[in-house]
Symmetry: C2
Subunit: 128 residues, 2 copies
Amino acid sequence: MEAIKQRYSKQRETILEVVQSTLVHPNADWIYKETRKRIPNISLGTVYRNLNQLVETGRIIKLKDESMVRYDGNIGHHDHFRCAVCGKWYDVEMIDQAIIKSFAEKHDFQVESFHLELEGTCKSCLNS
Amino acid sequence: MEAIKQRYSKQRETILEVVQSTLVHPNADWIYKETRKRIPNISLGTVYRNLNQLVETGRIIKLKDESMVRYDGNIGHHDHFRCAVCGKWYDVEMIDQAIIKSFAEKHDFQVESFHLELEGTCKSCLNS
DNA sequence: CAAGCTAATAGTAATAGTTACTATTAACTC
DNA sequence: GAGTTAATAGTAACTATTACTATTAGCTTG
């Protein structure tokens, strides 16, 4: 069980920058298209491979959308709200560690991570 | 915007019974195999179509696992704990309506549903 | 700082879960 | 019972993701 050697790669750093530069919670294809603006011949496989690595090393977060995976460059803890009308994902704050702690004590489960997802209608869709 | 006419079908009722009869939070393939024990020539497409309809009419719940969709026949509100070791999903109780209400008031979002997913190690995997 | 090792890449093929299509069957209406 | 059309079985197609392979390029070490 030794640490995986990880070399620097322009592709990986660019992908990370792309994910960190947006609030849209993009999927792999969006990230691919965006990264291609900077590295025109980057391969889609490279994008997927690096996104997985970035998740494994904790530099980005993985979200499950309807039929695909989305990514979030905001790795501080937060929850998500998905607007069912416009499909946008919002970062929100809601659950704190205290709630989780009391849960872990009640059950005999060891909680490593948790994710709250809310769905409904966002402010701007309510006003239109 | 009129209600969709929905005819009775043995296939759909059997699929519903299968989902309601288990706690394993099965995916489409499991449900297909299980339903085939009762209707040997049922088609996989029929299973998918009916699962989607059952979700739309609120008779079952849809969960997003790593790479596929899982279903839950328990439609009362509850949260989910996924064991990262054995992959099992557990129904748990944690969030109540009060937490959500205070959230909806803080932001100007209208919350229609929410889902808390915890991940970690379950009791039986901790003891082995 | 050049040689060697191998992680990472581009490009492509393959896979898995799911949806779409089509001719046929079977619930419901009158 | 005849007509209408939702639902079906079987199959093809689609989409997101992963696997494969020859080549490229970081990093290490002498």
